[in-house]
């Protein structure tokens, strides 16, 4: 397959020609943006936006149909005590659990995402990955979270990774494709930038940081590199790609830091659930507790919210 890049170069030359990331500057910028204070009405708006951006996730070996149905019900009405609380963006489950979630979510407007392509390692033959993807779409998923082959990427076989993403995108049909870079395994910010461009050139609708299955998941600096990549990609190609940090975002404070970063680096074009998502499970309860604190005027406790 021949790949055309915006610069007219072959893929490898293009990816290696991307400017290097200034690690110290990047981390300092991310840290500085994390110190903003967001209060009162702005905080209330940020919390509701963050809730609308949550991909409510359960990816455990122990997931049961009952648990998935309960999670999907929670996605529709995160706070049963407050009808003004918006639903989340999507529910994210394993392919085998898609039918159970689809039952609850049908017609609700809440998206149904499924991980596919031998999640989380991505170490499987291509036809297995494609079958995995088609099954999930056939069962009702309208968003597919695929993992790239980090082994191939790190070995420098960019064309193989590219072709795989193209093939999975085709298998998705009309479903949105989110490409998980697993930044914790890529080693450097330069690699994160390259993988982001690679995924976008291959047709990704979203780029996602992590599976949540390795210790080093989403961080502010990594997400900043990816935000810069989607911004530059839109400037050069005119196509907008979304960003999804996943794993390790547990508190409202964390979530608001990400929102501040989007606003300050790529602008409010990305400040919507169609273009930015949080892959999270425990984050939602903290958002609900902070929301309750703002509406009732007293601190909320975890005993008053569901466990999953």
């Amino acid at each position: 397959m021949t790949v055309t890049t915006p610069a007219g170069l072959d893929l490898r030359s293009f990816l290696h020609g991307l400017p290097g990331v200034d690690k110290v500057g990047l981390e300092a910028r991310a840290a500085a943006l994390g110190t903003r204070s967001v209060k009162t009405t702005a905080k209330a708006a940020a919390i509701d936006l963050a809730i609308r951006m949550v991909d409510l996730t359960t990816l455990e070996g122990a997931d049961t149909p009952g648990k998935v149905r309960a999670l999907a019900a929670k996605a529709l009405r995160p706070d049963p005590a407050d009808a003004s609380c918006p639903p989340v963006a999507a529910v994210c489950v394993y392919p085998a659990m898609v039918p159970h979630a689809a039952e609850v979510l049908a017609g609700s407007g809440v998206h149904l995402a499924s991980v596919a392509t031998a999640f989380p390692s991505g170490q499987a033959p291509l036809d297995v990955k494609l079958a995995d993807t088609r099954d999930a779409v056939a069962a009702g998923a309208d968003e597919i979270d695929m993992v790239i082959s980090r082994g191939e990427f790190l070995a420098g076989r960019y064309d193989r990774v590219f072709e795989e993403i193209v093939a999975v995108k085709e298998a998705c049909g009309s479903a949105h494709l989110k490409v998980i870079l697993e930044t914790g395994e890529l080693g450097t910010y330069d690699n994160v930038r390259r993988a982001s461009w690679l995924a976008m050139l291959a047709g990704a609708d979203f780029i996602k940081t992590s599976t949540g299955k390795v210790p080093l998941a989403a961080t502010l600096p990594v997400t900043l590199v990816m935000l810069e990549a989607v911004r530059d990609f839109r400037a050069r190609t005119g196509r907008q790609v979304g960003v999804k940090p996943a794993g390790g975002i547990r508190t409202t404070k964390d979530a608001i830091r990400y929102l501040v970063m989007i606003n300050e680096t790529v602008g409010d074009g990305w400040l919507a659930p169609d273009w930015f998502r949080f892959g999270a499970s425990s984050l939602l309860n903290d958002l609900l507790m902070q929301r309750t604190k703002l509406t009732t005027g007293h601190y909320a406790g975890p005993d008053y919210f569901t466990l999953d």
Partner: protein, 268 residues
Amino acid sequence: MRLAVRKTYKLFIGGAFPRSESGRTYLVDGDNVALASRKDARDAVLAARKAQPKWAGATAYNRGQVLYRIAEMLEARRAEFVAVGVPAAEVDAAIDRWVWYAGWSDKIAQVHGGANPVAGPYFNISAPEPTGVVAVVAPASFLGLVSVVAPAIVTGNTVVVLAAAPQAAITLAEVLATSDVPGGVVNILTGNPAETAPWLASHDDVNGLDLTGVTDATLATEWERAAAGSLKRVRRPSASEIDFFSDPGLGSMTAFLEIKTVWHPKGF
């Protein structure tokens, strides 16, 4: 000649000594003392909640040893408390009180729980369990402070204490920090209880409220009402009941205990 080493009395949260997140301080007898905000109270509740399951899960014997260790450390630092204005007799009484409560750690279950006679082929056993996180508005006297903190923690609760006499309370925190008390079991906030107590009284993740140190009856009633909103256990002894030098009895321990009753078939 040496320069005087002036001390700043900071908060005690989760086993550490942070300044107030608000950055505020106030002067008490010429000393700089941290003035806690509602967010410090919130952080303290988080620390207390995090520490609670492990502290409650420790054996009663272990908790007793830790309380005895506090008495040992306090004994070694008697002079420091006298230096911040606590009468020597009160320090001695406070040390004895820690020892007294240390002894209760593995006895309260026998005295407060027991086997119940029931009609049917069952063993029926009641056992006390800690309530959880308890917010304490502490009295001004040092012996009073010890007399409300020790009974709450000996049974497995964790506490957030709003201290009235900051230097003595933070000196006690320094004792606790060196006494094998796990971080977060006791958290001490200094400042104005009228500012922080309402937030603790209405906090959904606080299970008990001890109002022994509140002298203003109107405030106490207001906080008691706020506590009812989240079904907290409230302890509010009347002024005539409060004499810290007399035998403390079991009331201050049992106020923050829940009773679990188990039915077990006898099988014959």
